[in-house]
Amino acid sequence: MTDASMPAPGSGTGPRADLEALARRGRLHVIETVAHSGAGHVGGPLSAMDLLVALYFRVLRIRPDEPGWPERDRFVLSKGHCSVALYTVMAMRGYFPVEELLTFDSGGSRLQGHPDMLALPGLDASTGSLGQGFSVALGIAMGLRRRGNPAHTFVMLGDGELQEGQAWETVHVAPRYAAGNLTAILDWNGMQQYGWALHDGEAHRGNRADPWAGVDLRKAFEAFGWRVLEIDGHDFGQILAALEDARAAGAGTVPTAILAHTIKGRGISFTEGRSEWHARPATADEAAVARAELAGEDAP
């Protein structure tokens, strides 16, 4: 990693027990949904879960029973392959019954492998081909600003996704349009699907190289004119502070990038930092272990 002063991912143990319980439930839903479907992503959904729970349960101004509410904050999951995490949090938040998660990836389901805004009310974009959701989110933010709509637009990117050239087209142009109402959240879990091997003796929180090893992403965003907040993406205290800070800057002219250091596969011992859990269903035995590890007083 590039910055010795960055917060260590996962080091936080905040007092927000309700959010932590929701995140544990969410992680279990991810494991069980993917196991039921027989295919799907795990590592990225688990690294993003705390950020998504914080967004949907504390930060976003939304009405789950009125998903098209014009004043709603927008959220775009640009790393669309982590859809199961978004569906899980939306279900827990009341957009649709939690039982519907079991239809994930099945024919006719509203819960497509990648988010389809024409299929599921509450989705603000269709994503999957990487880099595109970021541009779409910028367009939404530009449109809201032109309309005088005070809603904020949040977009979540993967660190692997940030390798797409289109992402940097958006990094470049967003400050030109003074998109202070746009916040990009980077789920910097330190691994992509395959990527590069670690060098001998290289220390890293994952078993494959960081997509941005040796690159100072903070400086990169700042150089393009973004304001950068760097946090532990598993510490609800830091997450909420950063998201609220970003929203408070919404009336301004500088877009915010939140570089959230996370752990791929976070929350379950055998998935943390393991590239092989990028996308694979858990066996019955593995699911049982996950269930035990994620059990809390309010576990489902």
């Binding site: 595109q132 541009s135 779409v136 910028l138 809201l144 289109q166 958006t170 470049h172």
Partner: protein, 310 residues
Amino acid sequence: MSKPQRDVWAETLVELAATNPDILVMDADLATSTKADRFADAYPDRFLEMGIAEQGMVGAAAGLSFTGYVPWLSSFGIFFTNRALDQVRMSVAQTHANVKIGAAYTGLMAGLAGKTHVDVSDLAIMRAMPGMTVLAPADAAEVAAMTRWATQTPGPVYLRLGREAGPDVFGPDYVFEPRRVYLLREGTEVLLVSTGMQTARTLAAAELLGADGISAGVLHVPSIKPVDEAAIAAAAANVPIVVTVEEHTVIGGLGGLVAEIVTSHDPRPVIRIGIEDTWGESAPNAWLLERHGLTPERVAERVRKVWNQE
């Protein structure tokens, strides 16, 4: 000779924007070529320069459309149908976004730019995309009418715009109707089916054939998708030979469309005239039309040959 299509497109948008505050024009740094700079001059606050970044522009256009705006995009066709194709596919077509693609410099006559910029496969690519409306205007009146129609009709539209001026085919009162095809000339022996700026040259070819005693009808297909299949099938059923003529590759464009329709109704030979399986090149327009057999004389010559073999 009517105005160049790009000029008509830009002027129509300026005119429409006077009463429609939702129209935006987004440009990937080709505004002086596409003539979108005229819109920028008239409505600087509604002109969004996105830099040389077509993919990001297409994505942002989708986002703007989700907040109720009607973004018209300005770039060369090739950069929509090739460079930003994935963005057009996922962010625009798959969401049925209300984004309008002003695809400038399409066809063979791309201002000497050569094979890197020539787009003669756009109709084939775009018509294979579910939910995309694909339009190829013949002249100034049709450009203006299509621009008006697309602006007021929800959903994604691809508008093929030539760089140059061409002869008028329609009068100023022309009103565009989606799907509709136009029988511009009656004929009993050959049906020439054409689209875009080629239609005027195809009409001239039919005149030449008529002088030779071959009765050639001309059917203009401005709406590549959606299209009135029954009307094309009916027109084809009246003649022994159908010939498609397009300023586009013979693979998958108008020729492909007509062949698909004719073979599934009342099959008969369909001869496809257009650019054979090759790239474009830098050359004067007249040279290129000659080289690819798209002048009236060359089209007539080819049809004559086919007719004599029958």
